[in-house]
Symmetry: C2
Subunit: 188 residues, 2 copies
């Protein structure tokens, strides 16, 4: 049985994804949970706290995941494949909360915003390093690493919007298709 606090967070993640943080009122959220807006405050401190916790939990997920891959004895190409598979798994398991890391983080206030962007930038730096290693090993084309990183992460970041409309797809099949797309492109 989920705590009422967790139920509120789950509904908040879903509403923030569908309408955005600013366009979701505490009255909207309360209605979804099945109580009055004032009652929410017996379980949470503020609307901002909901956004902060949801985003920080996802940032922590990615940080831990990156550490696991980085400390593994795998080669760069296997690390990249592992990172892609990991991103897809996170998206399947936390579709609503994952969606917030793409756009809603801009509504973080105070020190939380800096803490969040620090973790995000660190993740991207590590991801970029894996791509650089892949190129240096000679298995990947000589390319602009910045564009390759942006293009790869864009596909992964927007997977949630596709997945939320195709929840029936087999995650393993999705992983195979996405990895093929990113590594080998569209062309035969």
């Amino acid at each position: 049985m989920k705590s009422k606090r967790q139920q509120i967070k789950d509904h908040a993640a879903r509403l923030f994804r569908k309408r955005g943080y600013k366009a979701t009122s505490m009255r909207d959220l309360a209605k979804e949970v099945g109580m009055e807006a004032a009652s929410l405050y017996n379980h949470i401190q503020s609307k901002q706290e909901l956004l902060r916790e949801l985003l920080m939990e996802m940032a922590q997920l990615f940080t831990t995941g990156m550490e696991e891959v980085q400390t593994s004895p795998l080669g760069p190409q296997e690390k990249l494949e592992r990172l892609i598979a990991q991103y897809i798994r996170f998206t399947v398991e936390h579709t609503d909360a994952i969606s917030l890391i793409t756009s809603e983080w801009v509504h973080l206030e105070g020190p939380a915003k800096e803490a969040y962007t620090l973790l995000r930038d660190r993740y991207e730096d590590n991801f970029r390093q894996v791509l650089t290693d892949c190129i240096e090993q000679g298995h990947f084309r000589e390319m602009d690493v910045g564009i390759a990183l942006f293009s790869t992460l864009s596909s992964l970041r927007w997977l949630y919007s596709w997945y939320s409309k195709h929840r029936d797809v087999n995650p393993l099949e999705l992983e195979k298709e996405m990895t093929g797309m990113l590594l080998d492109g569209l062309r035969k």
Copy 2:
């Protein structure tokens, strides 16, 4: 010399991109333009009108662009390359307004929302058909067209966020890199 109305729209596009439609107040916008909020209403009807016009202009741009490609005598692969190049050109020329088509369209109200999503869905259907033709011609791998479409458009849709931080890049170089990424992937 740009009309004051156009100046307001340009500033609105930039603020909507940076903070989002809901988080941008008419007082914010007025300050950027250099007047009081009430004075904006001598040039525009409403905040919603700003979003509607910005989005509909972009939708029209893509609709016309797709018609040009579809009625051309090119083969499917050349059509795809043309569509990618076109998307990149639109992003370079209208970075702020283009950004809105990715996420801010959800804040459209009334019939405009349906009119917008109709144009968007039609564009995506045509794009999907080009991909399908590419596969049937045998030049492309056998793959899930839905995932290929989503992945390709994700990279293109998020180009604006990368480009707004790298305005110095040569658009032709960008086009070459992006096309290579999408068609041939990361791997050599």
